[in-house]
């Protein structure tokens, strides 16, 4: 059993939901990213998503776009993130998931990517522009190396796609809360209850909800429907605001703690 599966099992037995914060690796720099992961864990994160910056992030809103640009200015690459994961693994067993776009992974070499990242203790992978249809090679390697591949579903997914994505996903299924890009809090709420219901009929795998969850209230609501709640832009916005400030860890940590509490308040 790998770390993601074990974590979801443990949470389920305790009647709890997972809180998964997202931060971009290398924004504002790798040392701070490392401290942020440890801080987030201390404040109640159950897993952490590390964003791999890409020059053309078509699924991301302005907050994560800018964050990626800041990281790229620091010349953050997959090799540097590999070293980050290796160092983090010496200090924590919290499940770590990378989220990014396909091209940097393709350029790195899919087999090489999976081999080296699973060796240093990465647990899962989300690729925003890689639907299951194009993921056969990557998935084969990932399955061999016990690296979870998390695919996405959205409010416009048909039953056929729910089946395909559920079958291809390991670890959990990422349910996007609206049709759109990350961090769009203006988006009207979609009827997620129906979508989650449809997914539950077809699979028993854990479901995480993400995109646009910007407050403890919204996190609480998402937690009532799913097994995990993913918060990205709202956290990254605080990193943007407090970067270079000595209170960065505390500010982000306090916000994370409020989210974690909201998710598991009964």
């Amino acid at each position: 059993m790998n770390r993601l599966e074990a974590k979801f099992k443990k949470l389920k037995s305790e009647g709890k939901k997972a809180f998964i914060p997202f931060i971009t690796a290398g924004d504002p720099n790798l040392e701070v990213t490392k401290s942020l992961v440890l801080e987030l864990e201390k404040r109640g994160a159950d897993m952490v998503e590390l964003g791999v910056p890409f020059s053309d992030p078509i699924a991301d809103g302005p907050v994560i776009q800018k964050s990626s640009q800041r990281a790229l200015k620091k010349r953050i690459s997959l090799l540097k993130i590999l070293e980050l994961v290796r160092q983090l693994r010496q200090k924590t067993t919290i499940p770590l998931v990378l989220m990014g776009y396909y091209n940097p992974i393709f350029k790195f070499g899919e087999a090489e990517f999976v081999k080296r990242f699973s060796q240093v203790g990465l647990d899962g992978l989300i690729v925003a522009d890689l639907p299951p249809e194009e993921a056969n090679d990557l998935k084969k390697e990932a399955d061999k190396n016990n690296l979870d591949t998390i695919f996405l579903l959205t409010p416009v997914s048909s039953e056929e796609r729910i089946k395909l994505v559920s079958a291809s996903s390991t670890g959990f299924i990422y349910c996007v809360s609206y049709t759109g890009i990350t961090g769009d809090a203006r988006k009207g709420e979609e009827d997620l209850k129906e979508l989650i219901g449809k997914i539950r009929m077809l699979t028993s795998k854990p479901i995480g909800i993400g995109f646009g969850i910007s407050s403890p209230q919204a996190a609480k609501k998402a937690a009532s429907l799913a097994d995990a709640v993913i918060v990205g832009s709202a956290i990254v916005k605080r990193i943007e605001k407090y970067r270079g400030n000595k209170n960065l860890l505390r500010e982000v940590g306090t916000f994370a703690e409020r989210l974690a509490r909201a998710i598991n308040v009964n």
Binding site: D56, I58, G61, A128, E134, I181
Partner: protein, 398 residues
């Protein structure tokens, strides 16, 4: 070869659908609608044909450029006059097809990206005549250097949305159009302007543009009773070149695509994707790309905004790899010189994009025999470029 792409949208190892999950159902819906429209000879195809002929002015002429031929002292040169199509470029062939399709699909809003502004103008035009609201994403830098087309789009009732991220050119305009599409996926139809993007776009845009090659084939056979030895066209995303090449793929005709050499291939300030790129994934398909060793997409440069793009259509990558087509580059200054040269010698002001093909013609034609035939796709007219050429040219304002 004519049966590519396969069912999943692959041309050999290239193409495919690398998009966020939200877009997947829309691509499937689009593919089904397109394949149905393609077979609907009496409905969709007849209606499109009528728009192409009576509205857009097709067929465009195949013009024997006598002075050009005489001047080059080599092969016989013909120009396929896409500059004479309505809106002044080949882009209208594709946008009439796609906006008509959008209407049949019941979509209520049109979006597009544009670099040189020609695709934006052509989309705004098709949206106007078919009665749909239209928004066009355009990079700040392109808005600056293609002012005429910005005014045209506005006059045609479209809203031009400036994009100020990254290099502020075509790549960023596509990023923003895709983000809009993901957000408004239920109501909106995204009119992609080239043979790029996820399946079925590369196939569909190629099919709509292959009217260029089909006409050219009939016209040259009528005039010369034989096929040309060479077809020449510029390649940014690659829609005018593929539209010309496609009906000749199984003939013994040399296919030559010309990419933007910018300030020179050694400067890294160019758009020579096939000449200098490596394989990767951008904007929904696998193809050659200009990228760094970490897979980040590079900035490009060309004096021709329509060629200022780090990607290229997946079918071009396939044609390059199979050796069926050859690709060369022409620099900014060579294109600018050809821009003036064609204007003076034939009385035709070419778009800076098309001027790249003319510049290569100058190198190619003199070495050929008198009975060889070269056809150049004159993909657009150059009015849009006059101001920018004035800025670039050492001889001052035109």
């Amino acid at each position: 070869m004519n049966y590519l792409p396969d069912k999943k949208g692959h041309f050999g190892q290239f193409g495919g659908k690398f998009v966020p999950e939200t877009v997947m159902p829309a691509l499937q819906e689009l593919e089904e609608a397109y394949l149905q429209a393609k077979e609907d000879k009496n409905g969709f195809q007849a209606e499109l044909q009528l728009y192409l002929s009576d509205y857009a002015g097709r067929p465009t002429p195949l013009y024997f450029a006598e002075r050009l031929t005489h001047n080059l002292k080599g092969a016989k040169v013909y120009l396929k006059r896409e500059d004479l199509a309505h809106t002044g470029a080949h882009k209208i062939n594709n946008t009439l097809g796609q906006v008509l399709l959008a209407k049949k699909m019941g979509k209520t809003r049109i979006i597009a990206e544009t670099g040189a502004g020609q695709h934006g103008v052509a989309t705004a035009t098709a949206a106007a005549v078919l009665g749909l609201p239209c928004q066009v994403y355009m990079g700040d830098e392109d808005i600056r250097r293609q002012k005429l087309n910005v005014s045209r789009m506005k006059l045609l009732g479209a809203e031009v949305i400036p994009v100020s991220s990254g290099s502020c050119t075509l790549k960023e305009a596509i990023n923003e159009a895709m983000r809009d599409w993901v957000t408004n996926i239920r109501s909106t139809y995204y009119v992609l302007g080239s043979v790029v993007g996820p399946h079925p776009y590369p196939m569909m845009v190629r099919d709509f543009q292959s009217v260029i090659g089909k006409e050219t084939r009939q016209q040259i056979l009528a005039k010369e009773k034989k096929l040309p030895g060479y077809l020449l066209a510029c390649v940014g995303g690659g829609s005018n070149s593929l539209g010309l090449f496609y009906p000749f793929l199984e003939d013994e005709v040399e296919l030559i695509g010309i990419e933007a050499g910018g300030l020179g291939l050694s400067t890294y300030r160019h758009g020579a994707t096939l000449a200098r790129g490596s394989i990767g994934v951008l904007h929904g398909s696998k193809s050659y790309l200009l990228q760094d060793r970490n897979g980040q997409i590079l900035f490009t440069h060309s004096v021709a905004p329509g060629l200022d793009y780090p990607g290229v259509g997946p079918e071009h990558s396939y044609l390059k790899e199979s050796g069926r087509a050859k690709y060369y580059t022409v620099t900014d200054s060579q294109a600018l010189e050809a821009f003036r040269w064609l204007s003076e010698i034939e009385g035709i002001i070419p778009a800076l994009e098309s001027a790249h093909a003319i510049a290569y013609l100058k190198k190619l034609a003199p070495g050929l025999k008198r009975d060889d035939i070269v056809i150049v796709n004159l993909s657009g007219r150059g009015d849009k470029d006059l101001e920018e050429v004035g800025n670039e040219s050492p001889r001052g304002k035109v």
